[in-house]
């Protein structure tokens, strides 16, 4: 229930957010993609480029391929996430916490080297297929064509569904389930008719995020040499030199429209399903013990899924210790030389990565909380525009944003003459803008779960809106805030596309950049993998630390829910 009139404070906050988004998202992107709307040669406004888009068979084919791949990736990611989420939230399952943490790792996959590792394990001549071919005489085309993209993307992004679905499952009032059991329902029927529908908002939040990310992702298809999808087509054309091709920007516009459209559709679907804490307490679903037969099956399923989704990291680890790994199930021999080579140089990369990612994560949760609050708790005109604008950042390729920043801000100079665009803080802003959607969704979900009565009680006792926000709302949102921070942080730590355009010197470079440089030569594969392992370990440790912190704070707040 939103409140009456908007306070000047709220208006000021909204204005500040709007300016930030304008300056660092809308304007830079506009400077890049306006080409899509101009006529070649004269520069006048035209929509003819879009007509060309619709007339070009390659683009239409790419469009439908992208839709197909994104949809199937959601399906496959759900297949991975559902069993894990259900098992860890509905049963007494030792290692549930470990699974939830491990299930998060696929999100942290360093660019380039992750794909190499995947190819070495699942490729046409990767470990699994070589063994299958030798032993049983056939191969499984994990990584071929569109199916390969679906597989890799599902493995990479399924944590979005896992995290959101688990959170939603945990928040269901136990009485809902017990009432159904009391009336005769149990097992899978119970899950299908009662539990899953009630968890639908969480599932939809994760699924829509996966759809949009996969639709807009250009790195994976390119590395698998799949070019007939929209995002890689955009990239190839935007980065071509020597020709003035507007189609890359036309495709970028299409990407943005589709992504915003997908998020709007999912918001529509969730509108009437506001199943938030109308219930008191709840205490989450009762956890059932597993019978030995069920237990064996459950462990089997979990191990299979974990194997599939953690395989890239296993491959990465092997690669980092490998001397030569070529057309063989396993490396020829192992060595620690790569780590030795990398550890010397990587301290500056590590420092930069930590700073950039932490700052980006902090910016994201601050804006995430602010936008969520404005949308859910005020009646401000146009507040939904802020939400959509922030979410649209998902669809912007990092490359486009990087070019946009250069175009908009290179002329602006800092006092010592260095251009603003290459000042390292712009890298932080680029990282923050592109990750804001994750933090925003997490904060939004967290705020939705808080009954407004809690805030009203505080105001009744004399607290102003801002004090209530600080002392009541934000502490209660801690779970969502930390989840948003962790997602932003860990994906920012391995981001490369915008970084590549904006990094000016090695002193400013993060780990992903150092990794990229290594991966340009044959001898650099091992050290690149070592750097990748360090990046993943770093992020995993930080993630674990924040989970521990939030557990401790929840416990100190007393038996929460």
């Amino acid at each position: 229930m939103p409140r009456p009139a908007s306070t000047p404070g709220q208006i000021a906050l909204a204005a500040f957010i709007a300016i930030f988004l304008l300056a660092f998202l809308v304007v830079p992107v506009a400077t890049v993609i306006h080409v899509a709307f101009t006529e070649k040669g004269t520069g006048s406004f035209t929509l003819i480029n879009f007509a060309d888009f619709l007339r070009t068979e390659l683009f239409i084919r790419s469009f439908w391929n992208s839709v197909y791949v994104a949809s199937m990736a959601v399906v496959l990611a759900s297949a991975f996430a559902l069993p894990l989420a259900a098992l860890t939230t509905r049963f007494v399952f030792p290692g549930a916490a470990l699974i939830q943490t491990l299930g998060f790792l696929p999100l942290i996959m360093p660019p380039f080297v992750g794909a190499v590792a995947m190819q070495l394990l699942f490729g046409r001549n990767g470990s699994i297929n070589l063994l299958l071919d030798d032993g049983l005489g056939f191969k499984i085309p994990f990584m071929e064509g569109l199916n390969g993209v679906i597989f890799v993307q599902a493995v990479h992004y399924f944590p979005f569904i896992l995290i959101n679905l688990s959170a939603a499952l945990r928040n269901i009032d136990r009485a809902m389930e017990e009432a159904a059991q009391n009336l005769g329902s149990s097992g899978f029927r119970l899950f299908r008719r009662i539990v899953f529908p009630l968890a639908m908002p969480g599932y939809l939040a994760g699924a829509s995020l996966v759809f949009v990310k996969v639709f807009d992702d250009l790195a994976t298809p390119l590395l698998l040499n799949v070019k007939d999808m929209l995002a890689p087509q955009a990239y190839l054309r935007v980065t071509s030199i020597g020709i003035a091709d507007p189609m890359g920007y036309v495709i970028s516009v299409v990407l943005i429209v589709v992504s915003v459209g997908a998020m709007w559709l999912s918001a529509l679907a969730m509108k009437d399903r506001d199943y938030a804490t109308v219930q008191r307490g709840g205490g989450g679903l009762a956890r059932r013990k597993l019978r030995p037969g069920e237990s064996a099956l459950a462990y089997g399923v979990v191990l299979l899924i974990l194997f599939l989704v953690l395989a890239p990291h296993v491959g990465l680890l092997l690669l980092s210790f490998a001397t030569i790994w070529s057309f063989a199930p396993l490396p020829d021999a192992y060595t620690t030389a790569h780590y030795a080579r990398v550890l010397g140089e990587s301290s500056i990369y590590i420092k930069n990565t930590l700073i950039y990612a932490a700052l980006a994560g902090t910016i994201d949760v601050v804006f995430g909380v602010a936008i969520a609050y404005l949308v859910l708790r005020t009646r401000l005109v146009g507040r939904h525009v802020l939400d959509w604008a922030a979410m649209a950042a998902l669809a912007i390729p990092g490359l486009v944003l990087g070019i946009g920043y250069l175009r908009s801000y290179y002329a602006v100079q800092l006092p010592d003459g260095t251009p603003l665009a290459t000042f390292w803080i712009m890298i932080v802003v680029a990282l923050a803008i592109r990750r804001l959607p994750y933090a925003l969704r997490a904060c939004y979900a967290a705020l939705q779960q808080i009954s407004i009565a809690l805030e009203e009680a505080a105001e009744n006792l004399g607290a102003t809106r801002s004090r209530t926000l600080r002392r009541i709302v934000m502490p209660l949102m801690t779970g969502g805030i930390v989840a948003g921070f962790v997602t932003s942080f860990s994906t920012a730590a391995v981001e490369l596309s915008a970084t590549l355009m904006l990094v000016q010197s090695n002193a400013d470079a993060p780990l992903a950049y150092g990794l990229y440089v290594f991966m340009q030569s044959a001898a650099g594969r091992g050290p690149g993998a070592a750097l990748g392992v360090i990046a993943v370990a770093l992020v995993a440790i930080c993630t674990l630390a924040s989970h521990v912190l939030i557990e401790r704070s929840q416990r100190s707040k007393g038996a929460a829910s």
């Binding site: 040499n225 980065t239 290179y410 590549l500 002193a507 912190l549």
Partner: protein, 442 residues
Amino acid sequence: MIIRRTLVITLATLALSSTVALSQAPSGKVTVVTSFAKDVTDPIKKAFEKATPGVTLDVQNRNTNAGVKFLEETRANNQVDLFWASAPDAFEVLKGKKLLQAYKVKAVGIPEKVGAYPINDRDGFYFGFAASGYGIMWNERYARANRLPDPREWQDLTKPVFHDHVSIAAPSRSGTTHLTIEAILQGEGWEKGWRVVKEMAGNFRQITERSFGVPEAVNSGQVGVGIVIDFFAFSAQASGFPVKFVYPSVTTIVPANIGIVASAPNRAGAEAFVEFLLSPTGQEVLLEPSIRRLPVNPAVYAKAPADYPNPFTDARLGSLLPFDAELSETRTAVVDTLFDQLISFQLDALKAATKSIQDVEAALAKKDNAAARKLIADARDLIAAMPIDAAGAAAAETRGAFTGAKEKGARQAEFEQQWASFARERYAQAKQKADEAAKLAR
């Protein structure tokens, strides 16, 4: 609480690191944007800094296209001194946009051409400092497992045994690959050249969008054979990968270049680096095993090991064919787009048609059939057909569609769609004919 603590820590770190960041910019720093890997830039950087005390080289690594874009966007307040990459087409683009500045090199001993290719830009905006040859690289283990013969010539790659085992980088993404394709076109002529290229392409497993993608796939054994620059193969061998390499008898020699960026902040330092690269000391660094490039100073080869390829004396290395650099420049965009639209984006259709043809030819080798043979010849012609001839490719209007010229003519998208449909129809027809021939050949 947690939020506050995090904020305090991050603010503190911010304050600390900004002092570090601001303490940059010592004198004598030369900034270079390059697409070369660390293995190449590190030894050269070390040698340069040793030879020129007081000057440090700051290497910014970007792929060629990103580097060009970066220079374009930052021209208002350029902070980069040098652009250092392989492909001349990137330099041509920069030169065209007035992002390079001319310089008269003082170093001596560098001839005008290496092989058939001019070493330096005739207007003095960029300079070749090393050369490399294109050739064929293959993975021994893969070859053994798939029973592939060792390839020797480009023509070998058109043979049915190599179907679905070959990889190449897209010419539109790799300037050096582009030169190789252009050399074939110039050597064989437009029509015949494209025929050969398409016959090879029918055997492609993948077309990568960056040069290094090809050797990387061959190294891992994901692909059997790759069309690569020699140093990729040599550095892979030096790292221990089970790969072999051969120069075909018709090889392109492609140069690697360096140019000084317009309004360079440290012009003196930039010039010093160019001079160093072209000096005997600098040229010798190229012989190191991790670099393995061909110097452009013929005298340096005296210091090279005995079997080191020498483009100035070795007849194998492309010195026979004349290469018209001007012609190449005029039709760069068209050739790239033709390759993309006729081959890269129709690869599945092309491969399917080629496979059908190859199967029929294998059957006909055992039992001949004149009608089938005629159909196959037609099918091959259909595949080889081009939507535009050499004159059209070099024509100003065609070129204008791709370069954002002010004249209103056909748009790039129109050409692309035309060419794509052309190829799609013909490949489908070719497959049809091949399937008919297959029935007859049984």
